[in-house]
């Protein structure tokens, strides 16, 4: 065996496939656990019975599993996947480990749309998602337009524009919240902290393919992203088409975030913590990082949402409260223990 073959840190397709498979198995286990847990008693036997078809059609257990829990779990999975994928991508493009998928102000733009929709009294199946997605698109184009430069997008300009746009929309949102009627207030606040309870299969059919396609597109740029994290000029020296890669990443993720936020509200922390954990465990190569972080995001959000609906059962918490409440201390402990892994090994 020659020296070079002994190098352990080399990434191979086999390693990526193996780890991705392991993550998928974990995902399925967490999904099944989540199906079992909840206000109504459902046993593992019931779940298996429903899947194999031995439970009769009119059994209420069937209804609980298929109509209530499963769509919600799938939505949580897709949203978590998307948020984490967005985090990884933005962190690479902006060369900033603290970037989250909402950094371009997408969150506040879509929240602005949603809050207006709720104030007017639109439904959660069409009106709220539609206005929220519209708000997100509007912000994206605003930030891209304001941040565009002759030499392509510049990270610091985009970041700053995002922050300012965010502040502006947050002010408008606060205005609506302060002046809204009491019965609408609860709905708004719930939405603002992330709410997965409105999940329907039709929504999943819209989000699902989009999340998958976005994942595949970004994965095909994973080596380009690796090199972009080491600097724009060096990346283009090495043959990376920097502005094209950045534009593809920014537009794909922003659209994805707009869509996801429209159906789930604002769920913070996932896009920050999960990519960070993935980087701690598997280093910085995006060929490994993208699948690990994305599936990890799905697992994390399903687990968090399961807690959100069981912790104060029969009442519910917004899932964003759980992600932040658990995420923040966990993150701080890790940071204290291990140092910021993005700069030290």
């Amino acid at each position: 065996m020659t020296d070079e073959l002994k190098i352990k840190s080399i990434l191979t397709p086999q390693k990526v496939i193996f780890v991705t498979l392991m993550m998928c198995i974990t995902l399925v286990v967490v999904m099944v656990l989540s199906l079992v847990l909840g206000t109504a008693d459902v046993s593992l036997k019931d779940v298996i019975g429903v899947i194999t078809g031995s439970v009769p059609q009119d059994d209420p257990i069937r209804l609980i599993i298929f109509k209530i829990r499963l769509p919600r779990i799938i939505l949580a999975g897709l949203v978590g996947f998307a948020l984490s994928l967005g985090g990884v991508t933005f962190q690479a493009i902006l060369r900033n480990p603290l970037a989250d998928p909402f950094i371009l102000g997408v969150s506040s733009g879509s929240a602005f749309g949603a809050v207006i929709a709720i104030t007017v009294g639109f439904s959660f199946s069409i009106g709220v998602p539609l206005l929220s997605f519209g708000g997100a698109l509007f912000t994206i184009f605003l930030v891209m337009f304001l941040g565009a430069r002759k030499m392509g997008m510049e990270s610091s300009t985009i970041l700053l524009t995002g922050v300012i746009v965010n502040a502006f929309f947050t002010a408008i949102i606060m205005f609506f919240i302060s002046t809204s009627a009491d019965d609408r207030l609860h709905t708004m606040l719930f939405w603002l902290y992330g709410d997965l309870s409105q999940s329907q299969y039709t929504q999943l059919a819209i989000i699902g393919p989009f999340v998958l396609i976005a994942g595949l597109i970004l994965y095909s740029f994973s080596r380009d992203l690796n090199i972009i994290t080491t600097g724009d000029e060096m990346a283009s020296q090495l043959g990376v088409n920097v502005s094209f890669t950045k534009n593809v990443g920014l537009i794909t993720i922003s659209l994805l975030m707009g869509l996801v936020v429209a159906f789930s509200g604002l769920i913070g922390f996932v896009g920050l913590i999960v990519p960070h954990l993935a980087r701690m465990a598997f280093r910085a190569d995006h060929r490994m990082l993208i699948p690990v972080a994305s599936i990890g995001g799905a697992i994390f959000l399903i687990a968090a949402d399961t807690l959100a609906r069981t912790l104060v059962s029969p009442s519910e918490l917004p899932v964003g409260v759980i992600t932040a409440f658990l995420g923040a201390p966990f993150f701080l402990i890790l940071l204290r223990k291990r140092g910021s892994h993005w700069s030290r090994s």
């Binding site: 070079e4 073959l5 190098i7 080491t230 600097g231 043959g239 090994s345």
Partner: protein, 258 residues
């Protein structure tokens, strides 16, 4: 001997400001071209033009007789490599991962590095005496070690020409010497063309066979160290009184500030 890299009457403008004017030069195989000049004389811009990152406004660049215009960026990255003055790595890559980035222009979009790429990267690390820390994080290296890894990455591109932009400016004496010696031996052994921008006139004088002295974006003087590094030339270009004598070790011109 036919030059590897040839610049013909290059001009470059940035926002109406003329940065480079009428620059012609050649880089030959196994030879180091030193590019000297005061701050703002256009050294780094010249290097970026030579690298194809900045398209010249006038003139043409040839590599092995073929114009840059006929090359894609990817193709060019297999001909010319650059080592920057300093590069910050935001995320923790291992040294071997950094060197493997040099294989980027050789790979297709979804391709992983194969054993041949790995061998090239490992050989590059050995050539720069950096193989021992192949698995260490780039963040845990000293400045000199890091520059050696970056030279190894340039080698992994398998280029004909390596350009270095003040690669030793943040290094202490020992690492400066190490980097210059490394570059000299690599250019000889591998028949690479090398161009190096530096503020260190003495090291350039000692290691480069050919020097180009820039002033205000034009070639003030070009030739071997003896003809370029004279008190008159240096005083005129750097606007600073100097004494030029001979380095007793290398017998090359040596500059002291008066």
């Amino acid at each position: 001997m036919e030059p590897i890299l040839k610049l013909n009457n290059i001009g470059f403008k940035y926002e109406e400001k003329q940065i480079l004017k009428d620059i012609s030069l050649e880089v030959k195989a196994g030879e180091i071209l030193g590019i000297l000049g005061p701050n703002g004389s256009g050294k780094s811009t010249l290097l970026r033009v030579m690298d194809g990152i900045l398209p010249p406004e006038k003139g043409e660049i040839f590599i092995k007789g073929k114009s840059y215009k006929s090359f894609s960026r990817n193709r060019l990255a297999r001909e010319v490599a650059m080592v920057a003055q300093e590069q910050h790595f935001r995320f923790s890559f291992s040294c071997i991962e950094v060197v493997l980035m040099g294989r980027f222009p050789h790979l297709k979009r979804l391709q992983f590095e194969n054993s041949n790429d790995l061998k090239i990267a490992a050989d590059a690390l050995k050539a720069t005496h950096a193989f021992d820390f192949a698995e260490r994080s780039i963040h845990d290296l000293s400045g000199g070690e890091k520059q050696r890894v970056l030279v190894a990455r340039a080698l992994a591109q398998e280029p004909r020409v390596i350009l270095l932009d003040e690669p030793t400016s943040f290094l202490d004496l020992k690492f400066k010497r190490e980097i210059f010696r490394l570059i000299a031996s690599l250019s000889k052994e591998k028949g690479l063309g090398v161009a190096i921008v530096s503020h260190d006139i003495d090291l350039v004088s000692q290691y480069c066979s050919n020097i180009i002295l820039l002033k205000n974006g034009t070639v003030y003087k070009t030739g071997d160290p003896d003809s370029v590094i004279t008190a008159e030339n240096i005083e005129d270009v750097y606007e600073c009184p100097v004494l030029v004598d001979r380095n007793p070790l290398s017998n090359r011109p040596r500059v002291s500030v008066r």
